[in-house]
Structure formats: C-alpha cells, structure tokens
Subunit: 363 residues, 2 copies
Amino acid sequence: MGNNMRAFRRCQAVGSDAGGGHRHATSQVSNVGDVAKRAGVSVMTVSRFFNDPSKLADDTYQRVKHAVDELRYVPNASARSLTRGRSDTLALVVADVGHPFFMSVARGVEDETQAAGYTLFLGNSNETLAREKRYLQALIGRRVDGVILAPTHGKRHNVGLLKRHDVPTVLIDRRLPNHELDVVRGDTFQGGRLLTEHLLAEGYADIVFVGGYPGVSSLVDRLGGYERTMREAGLEPRSVLGSYHQTSGERIVKAMIADARNGSTSLPEAIIAANNMVALGALLTLRRHGLRVPDDIAVAGFDDFEIASQLDPFLTVVRQPAYDVGREAARLLLDRIQDSGRPREEKVLPVDLVVRRSTRRPR
Amino acid sequence: MGNNMRAFRRCQAVGSDAGGGHRHATSQVSNVGDVAKRAGVSVMTVSRFFNDPSKLADDTYQRVKHAVDELRYVPNASARSLTRGRSDTLALVVADVGHPFFMSVARGVEDETQAAGYTLFLGNSNETLAREKRYLQALIGRRVDGVILAPTHGKRHNVGLLKRHDVPTVLIDRRLPNHELDVVRGDTFQGGRLLTEHLLAEGYADIVFVGGYPGVSSLVDRLGGYERTMREAGLEPRSVLGSYHQTSGERIVKAMIADARNGSTSLPEAIIAANNMVALGALLTLRRHGLRVPDDIAVAGFDDFEIASQLDPFLTVVRQPAYDVGREAARLLLDRIQDSGRPREEKVLPVDLVVRRSTRRPR
DNA sequence: ATGAAAGCGCTAACAT
DNA sequence: ATGTTAGCGCTTTCAT
C-alpha cells in the first residue's frame, strides 16, 4: 500500500506541463519500451522508475526521467492494473448527481480520497437499478479498488455484484437489508423526530408526511421518526409517499388541496416533506393555489437549500452533514481496503434542526 | 503452475481475510477461461458472446449465457481495453462539481453518452491545474475514448497532454488560445451585452462589473460584452475582478461599500456579477450593510439559481442553456471519435435574459 | 542495481 | 460456427 501510493505520486510528478508546442504532427502514444529505448535501459528499469524509484541509481533515474518527460509518457493504467490486480482508483456512485446533498457528499469523498493518493470517479445511477448495475459492472471490470454507493431506491439492489467480485464497498445515506457492508448516514430518524416535536411544540397537531420513495431506508427512517413521535403524542400519523423529486411534492399537495376543496378531507395544518425537492414542490403548489405558508399551512423538510437559504432563510429543515458523510465514508473505505477483515461499522451522524419562518405558528 | 500464480495474485488483490464466515469460502474472480470451461467452449466463443453474439449458434449462446450468469462473470475491462485500444468510456472533467451550471452540463453529457453506449466518468479539477492534470493522466492512462473538459482558469493549461495522447477532446464553457479543439459554450458576450442594455434601458448609467477570474474566456467574453455596450453608450466601463466564488462577490462589494462610506468612490447604481455565486455574495453583503436591492443598488448576474429562482424569482440573470451545452458537447465528441479528421467546430449557444426584481428601477 | 522471460485477461487475425 | 495463436503494455520472478 505504501509502495503503491508512492508510485502513484511519482506518476503525478511526471509528464510535462501546459502549453501547445508538440513536435510530431502524428503524435504516437508511447509505451515502456519506447521510454526504455530512449533512456538506454531495460523496460524493467522504467517500470521501477514509477514503482520504486529508490532502487535506481541517481544517474539512471535522471536518464529515465528525461525520456519520460520528452515523450510525455503516461503509463498505461489498463496494463498496469492487469498485472497488479489493482488500479489506485475509487468510485462514488450516487443516486442523483443533481441533488445538492450528493454534491456535498461528493466533495467530502473527493477531499479525503485525493489526499490518500487515489483518483476518484463519479457515477450517477439516476435512481435506476439498471443504470446502477451498468456503472458497477464498468467499475468492477476496471478493477476499481473500492466503491462508495448510494443505492437506488427499489426493492432490488446490486450490492451482491460488488460482493461477488470482492470490491470493498461503503454504503451512504441508505441502508440495505441483509448485507455486511459499512454504512455512513445521517440520523434521519432523529430528524423526523425533531421536526415533528418542533411542530407539535408550535401547536400543530394535524401534521402529514409527504413524498419519498417507499421502502428506501432514508425514507423509512424519516417517516419512522415522525410516526413514532406522533403516536407518543397520542396523534395519528398520516402520510402520502411518492418520490424524492419536486414533482412528487407538487402532485401530492395538489391532490390534498383538491380533496380539501371538495370537502372530502380537510387540509392538514402542517406538512413534513421527505426532502428538499419535495418541499420545494409543495411550497410552489401551495402558493400557486393561493395558500400562504405558514399562515394557512406550515411546511418543513429534510436537507437544506444551500443557496436559497442564504438568500431567504424561509424553510424549516433538518440539515444533514452531507460533506461529513462523504468524508467518513471515504475514511471507512480506505480502512476497509487496508483490512478487509475489520468489523463492519455503521456511522450515524447527528442532524441539525434549523427553525425558520415556514413553521412559525400564526397567532 | 499458471494456476498457482493466479491464486497467489488473487491473495494479494483481495487481502487476507480474517477467516470468518464468508458465503463463498472461495470467492474467486473468474475470467474468460473459467466461463469457457464451464460452458464447454473455447475462450473465443465467450469473447464473441460479449462482442458479437449474433455469430453464435443459439444453443451455444445459451450455454455461455448460463455459465456467465452462474459465475456472475464481468469481463475484465482493463484486459479488454489493452487489446482493443479503446475502453468505451468517456470522461467529463469540470472545474467545479459544486457549481449548478456544471451539474446541468453533466446531466446533458450523461444522457447523450449513455444513449450511445458509453460509460461516463465525472472528474473535478476544482479550478486547480495540478488536479486537472492528475485527472487527465488517470484518464489517458485508462485510455478513455474521449474527454469533455471545462479547463481550469489559469494562464497555463493541460490540453497539450490530451493532444499528445490523441485523446478526442471537446472543450466546454471556456475557450483556450491556440488549439484546434471543438468548443461548446454559451454566448456570454451577448449575455454581457443583454444585461448591460437592460440596465441602461432601466436608466442606470453607473454600472460596475464584479468578480470572475481574469483571463478565463467566459469572463473575458462577459466583461467584453459589458464594456463594449457601455462604450457604445458613451459610458466608461468599470470592473473589479476576482474569482467565480461567493467570497469574491462578498469581498469586492464590501470594499466598494467601505469606499463609498469614506467618500473615496461613490457606490455604483448597478452591479453586474460575473456569475451566480458572485451575485449571491454581492447580494448578501449589500443586505448585511443595510443596502436594499434594487432600491439602493441594482444587481444582475450570469447563470440562474435553479431552486432559489423558483422559490423567489428575485435576481435578474442571463441564463445559459447548461444542459444543452452538455448534450452538444457530447454529440460533438461522439462525432469526433468517429471521424478525427472532421473540421473543428465551435458551437455558441444562445443565452436568455430573465428580468426580475433585482434590477427594477426604483421611481 | 539492472535485465530476461513469463504471463495477467482479453481480442484480432487467421485457421478450420 | 467455432477454435488456435499471438500479442496488447505492464509487472512479477528469478537471474546476473
């Protein structure tokens, strides 16, 4: 491992720099042999230059370095990983690249893995099982050294593939049944509890939970925290699930309003949205129908809007430490790569209730 | 003997297992040979199963399929790319994963490349030349079939590396001097012009341009559009550059306010921010100092806030078609991969002025 | 400290 | 329709 990392760092030092001037109109990709010839050494010496430079005589080292620079030689990682069985590459596969939460996670993962000398590739399953599988196969085929995965939301999952191929794996944000993988996630059960307690304290009683993929653990936990707290207060929980997308919030709230207007079910006093995108959909739909938040109905959600909240801190939310989820996951993965036998860990990071105007009780 | 070797290597790749209860005591990564043996065919037949299944007899196909499924065999992409010289993999390297603009670009690229059967890996240079180089070397080493790059902002760049290794490349968002690469970008010169014309039409005259990396082409264009339009109106342009980050907007505006308060320079009537993050910084700083937008000063920017603008359409912006930039870039890249000799293209996509409250002239 | 040879898992180019 | 052979570019092992 230490060796490996040193080699990788060498790689970086290598190669020339910016700028246009290339000498051959028909540039040819070179290999160890070309470098060896140019430096007047054997291919093994060139190999050692990258993998264990301390074994080279100073003079030899300089000659090889020269040849490498001149040719702007970059070792063929495929060939390398073919012989070594390892690639110095890690991957993060998220369920939704566009989601701010996963972006922050990605930053955390990147900062940590770069520091450890790995290259990180990011993949996006787009909440689609088939697409996730495709990514994982590409990754497995490339012999990535480890994967951090936010699994898609369905009943089925692809972690068996990773296990089958002995790929060290850490799950983030979402637990999965029956596996022995490390997990890092925010304490969203507690989040559901905090949000509900806050609303109850504000005097709301008719609180409904809206949106989220049924079955996915992050939703189950959030919903669970809400339901438990409601029941402890002697109230009946009520929920309408869907997806984590904005449209889900829109559709569900629209239906609620319709129900209220035709008298079948009264509008709740408060809504807890499954995440920020659902909250956005809910907010917009309420507004579109002339309902004011919080005067006519309160709204709260999970995950903050990074930018909107700075511009106008309006929505009450439970904030998850997304960046730290990424960092912790990366750390766990690096540990697991070094010691595949270590006991499984599940890191549950604390969440944070941020009370804002959208749940302020009108008097 | 070959077998012994293989076993040995596996041990290394996999690491020692702490003896405990694993489902597969011999969790072995299999190869074409294993599949061939199990299916009772030659390795070439297995290879053809993946590369040209139509060449197999129905019966043979089923036998191989069975073996592949049973072993959950995933071909070794490294070996594959080693023989074929390509990898069916494309990469997108952006300057900032966190930036909403690049996220939309990523989605566009993904949708297009997935449809074409490629796997896409996303990298993040974080506006750092060294980190970009590192990514590109990893990509080159892996023999990716093409790269879409939003180059970092400095004077120097790494595209020579890509050219040297014959990697088909498309630049997005930012032009570079002296290269023959395809480029896809928004027409931000026109954007600068539209924003300035709008402010002038609203009756503002003392307009200042704020933020952005000096030298990076997207900034040069935006600034250019602003300056040209100002001069055509007989006004003197004024700008204070910096970076594309929120802190840049904060710092510059803070200094402006200080200058205005100690009387050295009066506060401008309007600010054009280099992008949305800078605009955010400007807005927050103005507010923090008790200045109202647009009553005391108008603010406009480039790139929209996807979410904040829905919640509260406040900031006047020029919107770039980020998703389309991604799609077009992907298309161009696929074309170039097929025909490396085709003439260079520079696609400049139209931008869109969205007038909102932040520039409404107080009466 | 350096080199020669073998082989990682796969596919292109020929067989059959 | 299927099989055989010869590498792809690299690192491992075993010499020197």
